[in-house]
Amino acid sequence: MTAVTARALIRTEAADGGRTRLETLRSDPPLTLRQTGPRRVHLVSTGAGPLRGDRLDLEVDVAPGTSLEVRSVGATLVLPGLADTPSVMVVRARVGAGATLHFSPEPTVLAAGCAHRLVVRLSLAEDATVFWREEIVFGRHGERPGRGHARFDATVAGRPLLRQDLLVGEEAVDGSPAVYGDARCVGSTLLAGPAWAPPAVPDVKRERRAVLGDGWAALPLAGPGVQVCALGADAVQLRERLRRGEEAAGASPASGPDGSHGTPGAETGGLDP
């Protein structure tokens, strides 16, 4: 068994009449991409993994004025490998002016003994719109999780919107009532774009109010975005909670360029102070 390196690429371009065309769709196994709609791509895992030592790069480039939806066929199961080094998955996404990206792959499951690093670099143009969901499951059913470190960086026109690290499988955080409590999985959805911008003249001493549910919260960020965060006992509960939070934050349930997108943020009334 040897470590693999893969670099896959999705790039859109604006076609006539304001339509989106997939300009490039470059698979690199195990990162295999399939176009499943005019503006939709599914990530199809071919082969097990990632395993320790693997280095997978996915680049997503959404051209100005276009829209793209990226999903995956199944969950990603991160397994222990032979190498000493962790497996690494890097997703770099650029979303151009007026463009929309919907990124919602199935959960990443950290199997016992794995060591995984997930790095997301999301860079939005000033008026780009993004729906970005991440779900991490702490081990398969009944097993202790492997180790995971997910880093998420989102910027809007170069300004930081959200920078977060999530550590899983570390003694200090596992079972801490301050971090995950007794949850077995954690997830978040970033909704970003002009529709989620704070009011032009904010009350400097009063933040926008969050919407809080059972095990989830829709958190208005300081910049133009809302993060839905959720904890769950299992992947099904986690997804359910995230969906509730997404709805509260004003993402239409079928949001995505192929769905009835509606007006993002039209229902954000609940987030106003």
Binding site: R151, F152, D153, R159, P160, L161, L162, R163, Q164, D165, L166, L167, E170, A172, V173, G175, S176, P177, A178, V179, Y180, G181, A183, V186, S188, V204, K205, R206, E207, R208, R209, A210, L212, G215, W216, A217, L219, P220, L221, A222, G223, Q227, C229, A230, L231
Partner: protein
């Protein structure tokens, strides 16, 4: 050489800067039954230190470095811009609006207190840059620099206050034995040192470039949920 005695003043819970009224999520955790005694308090504090504690330590170290580099000969507009950028990095690492508000409230009060204790051009610039109040670790780092502390000392003070405030709140709310709780804090001492070390290691040459994108952003979803839930509690005793 850092100012050891100034560090003690900065980290002292008696520093009159409003810290005594913040529980760092403990009050809500107690209300929900997530913290009931010293066992889960220990796990709460350790997890808090590994996440929010590390982030505040890094931001405090960065602020301390930035304040120490403040040169009155420089264009003051540049200083204002740098402080705003560092404060924006703190915003980006604090998804919960309740936590941002608590951090700004504490930062505003600490800035007020430290400007009288250790007046400096850097603190004036910071107050001008973020009039509504900078995030607490940013104010703490700037205050540390004005008191003569090193970035590492500022980071240590930030890590320390990230757990001592919640620990004291737990003593008050649960009637715990204060010595037992201080034993928990003593057990955390090596982790506090590690957090300060890691915070400084993450700086690199950040200050010179004014680029703090790589600073840690360790998030704690439960703390976010607790902070927001706390606001809905009509019987709360602590601000956060």
């Amino acid at each position: 050489m850092g100012a050891d005695a100034a560090l003690l003043l900065l980290a002292d819970s008696r520093l009159p800067a409003g810290g005594h009224a913040h529980s760092g999520g403990v009050e809500e955790a107690v209300r929900l039954g997530a913290v009931t005694g010293t066992g889960d308090l220990a796990r709460f504090l350790r997890g808090r230190l590994a996440t929010a504690g590390l982030v505040t330590a890094a931001l405090a170290a960065a602020a301390c470095e930035l304040a120490a580099a403040d040169d009155p000969a420089d264009d003051p507009a540049d200083g204002v811009e740098l402080w705003r950028r560092l404060d924006a990095e703190a915003d980006a690492r604090t998804a919960s609006p309740a936590q941002r508000e608590a951090a700004r409230t504490q930062g505003r009060l600490l800035l007020r207190t430290s400007r009288r204790m250790w007046p400096s051009a850097a603190l004036d610039t910071l107050a001008r840059a973020v009039p509504e109040g900078p995030h607490h670790p940013v104010a703490l780092g700037a205050a540390g620099a004005s008191a003569g502390c090193t970035p590492r000392q500022a980071a240590l003070a930030a890590a320390y206050t990230s757990v001592t405030g919640p620990a004291t709140a737990a003593v008050r709310l649960l009637g715990l034995d204060p010595v037992t709780v201080h034993r928990l804090l003593a057990d955390l001492a090596p982790a506090l040192d590690d957090a300060a070390h890691a915070a400084c290691a993450s700086l690199g040459d950040a200050a010179r470039q004014g680029r703090w994108h790589a600073l840690p952003g360790h998030s704690a979803p439960a703390l976010d949920l607790l902070a927001e839930g706390h606001l809905t509690n009509p019987m709360k005793l602590f601000v956060s």
